[in-house]
Amino acid sequence: MVNTRISTSGLNLWFGKNHVLQDVNLSVHEKKVTAMIGPSGCGKSTLLRCFNRMNDLIPETRIEGTIMLGEQDIYAPKADVTRIRAKVGMVFQKPNPFPKSIFNNVAYGLVIQGKYSKCDLHGRVEESLKAAWLWDEVKDRLHSSAMSLSGGQQQRLCIARALANSPEVLLLDEPTSALDPQSTAKIEELCLELKKSVSILIVTHNIAQAGRISDYTAFMYLGQMVEFGKTDQVFTVPNDKRTEEYLTGVFG
């Protein structure tokens, strides 16, 4: 039996008059990797950004429907946005470490919540860096600038930074599209390791990547959730003709 970590029902989203997400229903299962695929502009990144309310930053955004994070309706009027964002980690397309030291990057999420004493902080930073497979590469230079790391290391630092908050869900928005093949492979392996402890949602343009790492795949097209199911099933016997066409490269 799999538990549901995030579920949306009847989710509609408009940017101004533009109806970007149309009646999306999706369940993200706990401790699984769910991939979202689809052509550019189909709304998969927008959907991802609904789960930590990053779309709030865009003026004239209107949302209908509900998104449940566990037991919590994250768009409820009384929902605490900063608490939700601390529980839902996000990694962006372009590695975006702060222009601070490696240590301060990872500690950032904990420091702003003011919950940790100094020695706890060191422990958590070490744990997070280890979980993101970066510890051995940076343990001797925790206080040098994060900007001195390579692109792949920066992206793993961003993952460590998100993990430091002990999130329930990790949102990855095309995390490897700016990286070289080796770094990509490392992050894919890392995802498989991380799903032991956290539910992962990954947006990707790389169909093969979705096939390699995900347990479930959602295919989106023109703002609609066309197909959602176990990855083997979606990739081998898709229900919808459009899914099949996208996967076989008829359009994309």
């Binding site: 964002r85 980690g89 702060f98 222009p99 702003i112 919540q113 900007m147 998100a162």
Partner: protein, 284 residues
């Protein structure tokens, strides 16, 4: 030689000529200043008081006066300017109000400095009864520096990639934490550069302090905010217009101008140095 090549050479020649003219003005200006003022220059010149009805001695009180005027003005203007810029970039709503404020700031930036002098006299000297004093002059200069600092800070904050603020917000930071811990630290070098450039500007201003702070001659150094002060630009003005022994006072005026120039240049040098370091260390 074909026609297009000839046009190219001609164009290049015109560019070179104008570059030369501009550069020559600067050189002539510097040589002339140095020629007229170098006879009085010495360490003593900047460390002693004027003597003998200002026909001899140094300009120490004016150096001190300019230092305090500028420092106080910047201490007042920087926090005000930075906070205004933060408001305009991150909080300003509705848009028409932000635009209105910006029009006001840019108008302020284009106002002749003598108007600031009159304003300072009307408000600080007369209405607030601060009299002609260090504090009146510093406040007047602060208003003059304000639009420069606001614009520099605004530009610096807008230059911070949105990747950084998004990352911060996505980690559960509030808007206030994002501004204080990510936006301002990232923009700080550029904010500092803007501030330092405005220091250079206001240190050389004469008109705003003429009616609000400056005095022709003071026997002692300023001891409190309500003292009148001597200041380098006003000292030059006074020596050239009100002096009675031009033979000995004109070289002092040029010497003072050289010192002022040197101060402003070295302040700008610091700004260039900071900017150079940012460019070298920045990797985003």
């Amino acid at each position: 030689m074909n026609r297009r090549k000839l046009q190219n050479y001609l164009g290049l020649g015109v560019l070179g000529l104008f570059l030369f003219i501009t550069f020559a003005f600067l050189i002539i200006f510097l040589v002339r200043m140095f020629y007229m003022g170098s006879s009085v220059l010495s360490l003593e010149f900047v460390t002693t008081n004027p003597r003998n009805a200002m026909t001899e001695g140094g300009i120490f009180p004016a150096v001190v006066g300019t230092f305090w005027l500028t420092t106080l003005a910047i201490l007042v203007a920087t926090p005000m300017g930075v906070l205004t810029a933060v408001y305009l970039t991150s909080y300003g709503r509705p848009m028409w109000f932000v635009r209105l404020v910006k029009i006001a700031i840019n108008t302020l930036a284009g106002t002749p400095s003598i108007i600031f002098g009159l304003f300072g006299m009307a408000i600080f000297v007369n209405l607030m009864r601060l009299n002609i004093s260090l504090i009146s002059g510093a406040l007047t200069l602060a208003i003059l520096a304000l639009p420069m600092i606001i614009n520099a800070t605004e530009e610096a904050l807008r230059g911070v990639p949105s990747d950084f603020s998004e990352a911060s917000l996505a980690l559960g930071a509030t808007k206030r934490q994002t501004i204080l811990r990510v936006m301002i630290p990232t923009a700080l070098p550029n904010i500092l550069t803007g501030t330092i450039i405005s220091i250079g500007r206001i240190a050389g201003e004469t008109a705003p302090i003429m009616f609000t702070a400056a005095t022709f001659y003071s026997r002692r150094l300023p001891e409190s905010l309500s003292d009148e002060v001597m200041a380098l630009p006003y000292h030059i003005y006074a020596l050239m217009t009100e002096g009675t022994h031009s033979a000995s006072q004109v070289p002092i005026a040029y010497g003072t101008a050289l010192i002022l120039l040197l101060m402003v240049l070295s302040i700008s040098g610091v700004a260039v140095f900071i900017r150079f370091n940012i460019r070298r260390n920045r990797k985003w």
